[in-house]
């Protein structure tokens, strides 16, 4: 079983409600600001993007890297977090 961070576990453990984007695993202060600049101010909006990309983690990772300049570790962490959230709640 891969190790997941506390942030990951916190996010995946419950419905995301109105959590900010910084609640996503892999998204910190800086990346969160960049996402907000791009119009993704809440985690559910990022979820929307993930779903638009048909829950494809690879494409979502690419999108994250391209749009806000996340590195691949951060991006894959975020993608994995969203994927698991979807598995659990969607």
């Amino acid at each position: 079983m891969s190790t997941t961070s506390q942030k990951h576990r916190d996010f995946v453990g419950e419905p995301m409600a109105d959590k900010p984007v910084t609640a996503l695993s892999g998204i910190g202060e800086t990346l969160g600001k960049k996402l907000e600049e791009n119009g993704f101010d809440k985690a559910y909006v990022v979820l929307g993007q993930f779903l638009l990309l048909r829950k494809d983690t690879e494409m979502f990772t690419d999108w994250l890297k391209d749009s806000i300049g996340a590195n691949s570790r951060q991006a894959s962490s975020c993608a994995q977090c969203l994927k698991e959230w979807c598995d659990a709640f969607l």
Binding site: K34, L51, L52, D66, G69, A88
Partner: protein, 844 residues
């Protein structure tokens, strides 16, 4: 590329044409899908263009280095222009060499090292004309730095060094700590191209130093090669990232010029192992080189298109990225490298030359080109595995195989030798048996001294010949020779024979016979009188002579021995078989008796329960008769198809009940006009222990994150404390447990295997589900519930351990359902009640 003019619908359709189903194209997803489209297109082109690559490269080779530099110049201008307009792209294309995957960076860094190092080696050792044109680009580039024309080794050094530097620069960027990269990322500011270059050059310097240190150790180099090779083999994501990275440098360096360069690099790296192999031998490897080159080019071509799609990190400049890939970014990379490295590189080249020397020396440790695209790693490894390594492996295999061969032969030889030895021993023993005559001869040869000396020899000879003759006769007889029907020889025949042997025996026959009698020892001749088995005391009584040591031919003896052995072995086998069959039969009978007894007791218990419940029902409901006809009880307890089988058991149960059960009385009643033997339950109702009331009794605690894992880990569960094996009664309580679990998880149709561990003290039940989510649901349903007065706990098990323990579960994939007809006693009684209550209205 006209991708920017694609409308959303067109983009959608284009993507679908490649067999990829995209989601909706919105302003946010557009760039991602464009990138994907480009990647798919490149892949397609790549497949089509691969054969053409070599030709184009060959054409390119003809251009001079200067031309190449010139060519690169305008390109760089374009790139700069582009860069200013698309700064993120610029950043990405430059940093494209160095994606931010820090994990893969270090191996890549080392890969870059290896790459250039290898190139060093190969080019330095090679004077091929083919290399020349390849090195001209670097020469041309070098010329900018006023490098004097040095022997090709220097060129190659320089070329390699520079390439390496540029690679390293790309790599180094990557290998730079994430912090540095993040600085680029997080800044979000579009740096100027120049600024980027400065940063990179700065970092390059620092990196170069570190890399120098690293690369100085040639052993490190080769070790790192191997390390990164294994690292390459490890993970696909790494692979993917490495591939772009690896190829990006090669791609970057592969404009028209850099194509050649990287090709040379690749080819150099390819050639290197070959070179080393042939070091001792010839150096004529043109054809090899050609092959390598072609292979390299194809590889590069593959890798280029292949990697590019995956490459882009900061790819809002995706289209530019793709468009300029062949030219701009590589050229810019090169330019940047060259520009920034102009001053700093020169002092490095000397160290690089030193390094190349060391590399050359350590050629044996060098693992070649697996650095080239990871995607083609396997192919490349197969293709470019150093021949010396291959040879080494081959030798090792040969040694191993020959060693094993000799070991194998040795064992076989020993085995056959032992067998032969024993066979010979047996034969010799047989022969020895036959030659017992020797001792007889000895006995005969020592006649008692009472005979006259002159006659002694004659008598000896007589006796010997007589003995031989008798032995022969006996042997022939024993062997089944029809010529001699009698084993013994009459004395007349003996006399005749002896006289035929030697006239001088005539008078001595009687004397010799007398001597034999007197001797008393067994001289190999038995004297028989008229009546056999009577000791002969006088010569006159002798009627027949027989040999006690028959002389048989060897084959005859062998045959007899063989048959004897066979007979004895067969006899033993037959006896053993008889004994074994007797034992088996006894065991079988014993087991059968035990099962029958157990079934009988079980039946008795069921009857008692039936009667009990009926008795209670009668107490509550006075309309019912307090007795039950025996056949009715039987028919309700035993399924129709089992009735004939269970007949015997039923009979035994009935007799047991009538003999040993005091609470049930057997009597005759008239029911509906017919006489029935009935059972009446006599005992007043006690509060009978509903022994097997296996029911779920609610949850002890709510499941939250503290006492259960947040997400289900494996599809296998171990449920504890469902039962107490000591307390369980009845035959099928484990089925009841299974049913209980299935009922509890009736909403979960993902359970495929349940195993009740009857012997566990903890009352364990093992459950396997279709997937982790099903097991998670089952976990939530079962963990912390009360069952039969016990608190049930659940934990996850590893799938492989589960399969080790229950191999039959590996094949289970159909969900289990709780069956309505449970065989628990309560259910049967319920059935009976239902039956009886249903029948009564039916009657009325």
């Amino acid at each position: 590329m006209a991708s920017t003019q694609l409308t959303d619908e067109e983009l959608f359709l284009e993507l679908k044409r490649f067999g990829f189903t995209p989601g909706p194209v919105t302003e946010n997803t557009r760039p991602v899908y464009l990138k994907k489209l480009k990647k798919l297109r490149e892949e397609q082109q790549q497949r089509g263009l691969r054969p053409g690559k070599t030709r184009t490269i060959g054409a390119i080779n003809s251009t001079t280095g200067g031309g190449s530099t010139v060519a690169s110049r305008p390109v760089s201008h374009d790139v700069t222009h582009l860069n200013t307009s698309r700064r993120p792209g610029r950043k990405s294309s430059l940093l494209g060499f160095s994606s931010d995957e820090s994990d893969a960076e270090t191996p890549l860094k080392r890969k870059g090292l290896g790459h250039s190092g290898r190139a060093n080696r190969s080019s330095s050792s090679q004077q091929q004309p083919k290399i020349r044109p390849a090195s001209t680009p670097s020469v041309a580039i070098k010329s900018r730095y006023d490098h004097s024309a040095t022997p090709s080794s220097n060129f190659s050094l320089g070329q390699n060094g520079e390439r390496r530097v540029s690679l390293g620069w790309g790599v180094g960027d990557r290998s730079r700590s994430d912090a540095g990269l993040r600085r680029y990322d997080d800044s979000g500011d579009e740096d100027n191209y120049e600024e980027d270059m400065e940063k990179k050059s700065r970092s390059l310097n620092g990196r170069g130093a570190s890399r120098l240190n690293a690369s100085k150790l040639a052993g490190d180099y080769s070790d790192s090669d191997e390390e990164e090779v294994s690292g390459l083999g490890v993970g696909d994501p790494e692979c993917d990232r490495l591939e772009p990275r690896r190829n990006h440098p090669s791609v970057a360096l592969s404009s028209d010029v850099t194509d050649r360069g990287s090709a040379t690099d690749g080819q150099n790296t390819e050639a290197t192992p070959r070179r080393f192999l042939n070091m001792g031998g010839s150096q004529g490897e043109d054809e090899e080189e050609d092959d390598l080159k072609r292979r390299d080019f194809s590889r590069l071509g593959d890798s280029r298109s292949h990697t590019l799609p995956r490459k882009p990190i900061y790819g809002s400049l995706t289209e530019n990225h793709k468009g300029y890939t062949g030219k701009n970014s590589p050229a810019t990379g090169e330019d940047g490298a060259s520009r920034s490295n102009s001053t700093e590189l020169r002092p490095r080249f000397s160290t690089y030359s030193g390094l190349s020397q060391t590399y050359r020396r350590n050629h044996s440790n060098h693992t070649p080109a697996p650095n080239h695209s990871c995607g083609h790693a396997a192919l490349k490894r197969n293709v470019s595995a150093p021949e010396d390594e291959l040879l080494q492996q081959f030798k090792r295999e040969e040694l191993a195989s020959s060693g094993s061969f000799s070991a194998h032969y040795l064992s076989m030889f020993l085995l056959t030798a032992a067998c032969l030895f024993f066979v010979l021993l047996g034969l010799m023993y047989l022969r020895m048996r036959g030659s017992g005559a020797l001792e007889v001869d000895n006995v005969i040869n020592s006649p008692p001294p009472e005979f006259d000396t002159p006659n002694k020899d004659v008598i000896q000879k007589l006796l010997l010949s007589l003995h031989d003759h008798l032995a022969f006769v006996a042997g022939q007889h024993d062997c089944g020779d029809p010529n001699h029907p009698n084993r013994s020889v009459s004395i007349d025949e003996a006399s005749v024979y002896l006289l035929a042997q030697n006239k001088s025996f005539k008078g001595l026959i009687n004397e010799s016979l007398d001597w034999i009698i007197q001797k008393g020892q067994d001289v190999g001749i038995r004297l028989m009188g008229a009546v056999p088995d009577e000791p002969v005391t006088k010569v006159s009584e002798i009627a027949r002579l027989e040999s006690t040591h028959p002389k048989m031919s060897f084959t005859c003896r062998f045959r007899r021995a063989f048959f004897t052995i066979i007979n004895r072995v067969l006899l033993i086998a037959v006896v053993a078989g008889c004994v074994w069959s007797v034992v088996c039969y006894v065991k079988y009978r014993w087991r059968r008796d035990e099962t029958e007894t157990r079934q009988m007791y079980d039946m008795v218990e069921r009857i008692i329960d039936v009667m009990k419940t009926h008795g209670e029902a009668c107490q509550e409901n006075q309309d019912l008769q307090p007795y039950l006809p025996i056949p009715h009880v039987r028919d309700s307890l035993v399924q129709p198809q089992d009735r004939s089988k269970m007949k015997k058991i039923w009979e035994r149960a009935v007799s047991f009940l009538s003999a040993n059960e005091s609470r049930i009385r057997t009597e005759t009643q008239r029911i509906g006009g017919a006489d029935f033997l009935v059972w009446r339950w006599i005992q007043p109702s006690l509060n009978c222990d509903k022994g097997s009331s296996k029911v779920w009794q609610g949850k002890a605690f709510p499941l939250d994150r503290r006492n259960s894992p947040p997400n289900s880990l494996t599809p296998c569960l171990k449920i504890r404390n469902m039962f107490d094996p000591v307390m369980e009664v009845g035959e099928n309580w484990d089925l009841a447990i299974r049913e209980a679990i299935l009922e509890k998880c009736s909403d979960n149709d993902g359970i495929v295997h349940i195993a009740v561990d009857k012997t566990s003290r903890e009352g364990c039940v093992y459950v396997k589900c279709l997937s982790a989510e099903y097991s998670g649901k089952a976990f939530k349903a079962l963990h912390g519930s009360w069952f039969d007065g016990k608190l049930v706990t659940v934990k996850y098990l590893r799938l492989d351990r589960y399969h080790q323990r229950f191999p039959q579960a590996q094949g289970c994939s159909t969900p289990l359902k709780a069956s309505g007809l449970a065989t628990s006693v309560t259910n049967t009684t319920a059935h009976l009640q239902h039956h009886s209550s249903a029948s009564s209205p039916g009657f009325s």
